[in-house]
Amino acid sequence: LEGASAMRPRTIKKSSAAVRDAASRPHIVQSGIARMSEWNVSPGGASRTIAVDNTAADVARAIHALSDADLVRLKALARLWTRGLPPGIGWADVLHEAIARALDGSRRWPPDVPILAFLSGIMRSICDDQWRRARREAEVLVCDEDVANRCAASVEMKSPTPERVVAAAQSLAAVDRLFAGDALALKIIAGLAEGLTPAEICQQYGMSERQYDTTRKRMRRALLRCGLAGSAS
């Protein structure tokens, strides 16, 4: 896969003593929630506190501390994001790459972001990277070197490839099938795909807040079941 994000938050590397200190407080990562790391500096004698990103060591500890339930969530997330990838890439591939990027520091774990949300964000960017890569490969195949360079430079500006459009339409249909038989869930799916907020979905489909919340819970369990049993739909 290509390199990760272009814009990374500024980070300050913690000392090994701070890393050891973090290790002596395992309860911090056992919650699965990233803590706000702090670094005390004293410019001109005045002490101030700067919030810094969590380090790769923090990521490793947090991953190590994930419970069985967290790991199941992680697998379900990987299976979900696989739906946004080009065909032929499995959930294990995307999860493997996401953890590798988190561990080698090519993606920084911001403070106050839960570890699962962080890894999910990496998986999302892997989807985009993979489609960019697929497009580049397709274009390079038909271009000479100079043209290929121009193609690569303009990749970001172009509309999606027909392959991506078809794959996305198929994935949307697969998500619909996952919730087939649950009319309210299908309405929420349609609303989320349109980018509507929960309030807008309720308003547009005449759904009460309670119906929305109950349906959301059913949807979560369906996604978890899918992640667990790994049905293809």
């Binding site: 790769a56 979900l80 946004g84 890439i89 590798a100 949307l172 979560r220």
Partner: protein
């Protein structure tokens, strides 16, 4: 009438659903395990093995040790050594895919 852009719809949907998944409760996970008749421990083991494979061994403990021992460039060097680049189906052939 605007043009349908399924790739944008899909990414918006996946974003929203992933947020839902990330905040599921322990009870919901257990309930889903019962409903799916699939042992949670087995799914968790699968993911643990995958994480362990990143380190080239069955456990993650060594990753933690290597990070605790080292710092800065050395830390990154160790992890870079273990990092693998995802190719299409890279792990698909050796991991059970559902």
């Amino acid at each position: 009438m605007s043009r349908w852009e399924p790739h944008i719809d899909l990414m918006r949907l996946l974003e929203a659903l992933s947020t839902e998944l990330a905040v599921t409760t322990e009870t919901e996970v257990l309930q889903a395990g019962v409903e799916a008749r699939w042992p949670l421990a087995e799914a968790a083991r699968e993911v643990r093995e995958l994480i362990g494979a990143l380190n080239g061994d069955p456990g993650e403990a060594e990753v933690l040790q290597s990070i605790d021992r080292t710092e800065g460039g050395v830390e990154r060097e160790n992890l870079r050594h273990h990092r693998s680049v995802t190719e299409r189906g890279n792990r698909t052939c050796c991991s059970r895919q559902h």
